[in-house]
């Protein structure tokens, strides 16, 4: 990678220098990206799930059914807006708005590309960046919970309230796992600004396998694989997507927190859900998949990481992640609520803590000589090995045989029939079989359409 390409990386000093029309343009672009991503995202999801379930999906309105979501949106706008009698009117009105605002605001710190020239202004393709940009993302997602919780409460009926309570518990729990997996990224990158994290992932590491120097991407998804996996799982939980869509579990809660919503307010909730999904994909791309940087085979071309091209790589990565979201929905059944909570608190959280401990340990011995490193890694590894060998076995005791169970019953239990009791065949069965005529069925070919 040459230095001229590296110079394309925006730093924090590059922000806050744009004229007002450029700032406005960037904001409108990010907003339009969110809306367009929703329009196409709903279509994409329905088509992909349709393909997975061997049915066509929407294919009537527009080419490939592309305008189906637009038609649905128009229909929704013209429907009657029902306000339940028991609803808390002001909060009921504000809840979907809070959801949408929080989901869209998070897009403002996502870097879409490197420095480009727009009408003579040298500016980064990102609305803004602050030293704590990733914390801003976390703040947006934690404020977004209010929309759902208040929507559930203000509806004034039982199912929405249950959905709202579920979602608040869910999002708070999974935010913990999410925040902890970002800690590993902060430790490795040394910064919290999104553009800085993308810049830190530029330098590919060299893997030497059998004498060959193999260029591997410097993506944190590979360097910090456990963090990446946990972050993505937490993302799915945070956006209320299947298999973690418990707040709107239709088999239990009708539609969860949005049961009472109709017309445009319902559309706003749908919008915020899809914008949140796209935003979270974009954030995952930024933090773990190298952001707008081209993946390895493309980087052979010198100009891959400069100009407007990186936006293409960025959108490609985001679409791939959205596909994973849809894929999960098409594949996995919904979890039960206690299983879901156990996964969050008893699996993701401890693994994350141990991983951060290991990572910080590895980072602190980075500068030591080889002998010191061997000792520092060897002693904990040895202790771990000994602990695993001598750990008391949790394997369940072998189940006693039936005879043993019968013998160990206390005095005075129910009498049991003998274990080798043979039940004689019913005479009725033989008669029915004898009287029935053999069925006259001709086997057809398998390929025939039914």
């Amino acid at each position: 990678m040459t230095s001229s390409i590296l110079a394309q990386d925006p730093t924090l000093a590059d922000f806050g220098r744009d004229p007002w029309w450029l700032v406005l343009g960037k904001i409108v672009f990010a907003f339009a990206f969110g809306l367009l991503a929703t329009l196409l995202g709903v279509w994409f999801e329905r088509r992909v799930v349709g393909y997975m379930q061997v049915r066509p999906g929407p294919n009537q309105v527009g080419p490939f059914g592309l305008l189906q979501t637009l038609a649905d949106g128009l229909k929704m706008a013209f429907k009657e807006d029902i306000l339940p009698k028991a609803a808390d009117k002001v909060v009921y009105f504000f809840a979907p708005t809070i959801s949408v605002i929080c989901a869209v605001t998070a897009l403002s710190v996502v870097p879409f590309g490197p420095m480009v020239s727009i009408f003579g202004h040298h500016t980064p393709l990102q609305v803004t960046d602050v030293p704590v940009a990733v914390l801003l993302l976390l703040a947006c997602s934690s404020m977004g919970v209010y929309g759902i919780v208040l929507g559930g409460w203000a509806s004034g009926s039982t199912y929405p309230l249950l959905g709202g309570l579920r979602s608040s518990a869910q999002m708070i729990s999974y935010e913990v796992a999410m925040g902890l997996s970002i800690v590993a990224v902060f430790m490795t990158a040394g910064t919290m600004s999104t553009s800085g994290i993308v810049a830190k992932q530029a330098h590919g590491t060299q893997l030497s396998i059998g004498g060959f120097e193999l260029p591997a991407p410097g993506w944190y998804a590979i360097l910090l694989l456990p963090s990446f996996i946990i972050f993505f799982i937490a993302t799915v939980g945070e956006t209320n997507r299947a298999p973690f869509d418990l707040p709107e579990a239709e088999s239990e809660l009708v539609a969860g927190f949005m049961t009472e919503y109709s017309s445009l307010k319902f559309a706003l909730f749908m919008l915020s859900e899809y914008v949140a999904m796209v935003t979270m994909s974009a954030v995952t791309t930024t933090l773990f998949l190298g952001g707008w940087r081209a993946p390895w085979p493309i980087t052979i071309w010198e100009g891959a990481n400069s100009g407007w091209w990186p936006m293409l790589w960025f959108f490609g990565k985001v679409i791939a992640l959205v596909f994973v979201f849809v894929w999960l929905r098409g594949t996995l059944p919904r979890l039960r609520y206690d299983q879901f909570m156990r996964l969050g608190w008893k699996v993701l959280l401890p693994i994350n803590l141990v991983w951060i401990l290991v990572l910080s340990g590895l980072r602190s011995i980075e500068d030591w000589d080889t002998r010191g490193k061997m000792i520092a890694v060897g002693i904990p590894a040895g202790i771990l090995l000994i602990a695993t060998i001598f750990w008391p076995s949790r394997k369940p005791q072998p189940k006693p045989t039936t005879q043993e169970q019968v013998d160990s019953r206390p005095y005075g239990s129910f009498p049991l029939p003998p274990m080798d009791l043979q039940v004689p065949p019913s005479p009725r069965i033989t008669r029915v079989v004898a009287e029935r005529e053999p069925a006259n069925i001709v086997a057809g070919s398998d390929s025939r359409e039914v």
């Binding site: 704590v132 404020m143 708070i172 005075g412």
Partner: protein, 257 residues
């Protein structure tokens, strides 16, 4: 360092900062007043959320982006959410009663509150008038987050760890108080269940349902046992036993043929 950080470090007040302050300041004040004045507990919590959000933005304006974001994530996002959680479980119709138990208490509280606010505001204004903030640039020299981290994990590490130990103790204490574990000997096995069932004085069969062999479909009508007696056990204890008289059970003559 962004432009606003640089400006705040220099002690100046930019136009944007002033505009933001004069928009968000009144909003924060309205939120605080609304929190006290709102009848509904959830509305009260929401007003407080508004105030906290404004405070978070103020911290960011004052060149403390980290503390601002933490204010929004921890206080607004997590702690107020837990408050809401409890309030929603209490029920949406629980509003304050307006009956004054102490006469004149409300007026006295308002007057005292205004007086206290005036005193604090006046004292702060007199004390800080004309002074300029110094040392912000040095504190934020290597970045706001790094500066806070350096102080927190060197000079104040003991206080920090002590606070976290206190919080963990509180959490563990709450869990110990709330958690009930069933002992092993409390479990009854099949044999002792059956012994209790067939013990003298206990009727081992299922209880008759209300209305069995009865003359009415009411739950208050006791069932009849096979020998014709009424069974008291078939009706709930709180219901008075009601047996229809012969006059009530005869046909009313409405089914004219």
């Amino acid at each position: 360092m962004t432009t606003s950080t640089v400006l705040a470090a220099a002690g100046g007040v930019s136009g944007g900062e002033e505009v933001t302050f004069w928009i968000l300041g009144p909003l924060a004040l309205i939120g605080a007043i609304g929190m006290v004045a709102a009848r509904n507990a959830v509305h009260s919590a929401l007003w407080l959320v508004l105030t906290m959000l404004c405070l978070g933005v103020f911290y960011v304006l004052q060149a403390g982006p980290f503390i601002g974001m933490v204010q929004i994530i921890v206080y607004t996002g997590a702690i107020m959410m837990l408050f809401l959680f409890v309030l929603m479980l209490v029920g949406r119709d629980s509003t304050d009663s307006l009956i004054e138990t102490l006469r004149g208490q409300r007026v006295a509280a308002i007057v005292l509150g205004l007086g206290f606010a005036g005193l604090v505001g006046g004292a702060l204004y007199r004390a800080l008038e004309g002074t300029t903030a110094v040392g912000l640039e040095q504190a934020n020299a290597e970045g706001n987050v790094q500066g806070i981290a350096r102080l927190l994990f060197t000079k104040y590490v003991f206080a920090f760890e002590l606070t976290s130990a206190l919080l963990i103790t509180a959490a563990v204490g709450a869990m110990v108080l709330a958690h009930v574990e069933r002992r092993k000997q409390d479990k009854v096995d099949q044999v002792s269940t059956m012994r209790a069932r067939f013990a003298p004085g206990n009727y081992p069969g299922p209880k008759p349902g209300p209305g069995v062999f009865a003359t009415s479909s009411s739950v208050a009508t006791p069932a009849r046992l096979p020998d014709g007696r009424l069974s008291e056990r078939s009706t709930p204890d709180i219901l008075p036993v009601r047996e229809l008289t012969a006059q009530e059970t005869t046909l009313k003559g409405t089914d004219q043929r």
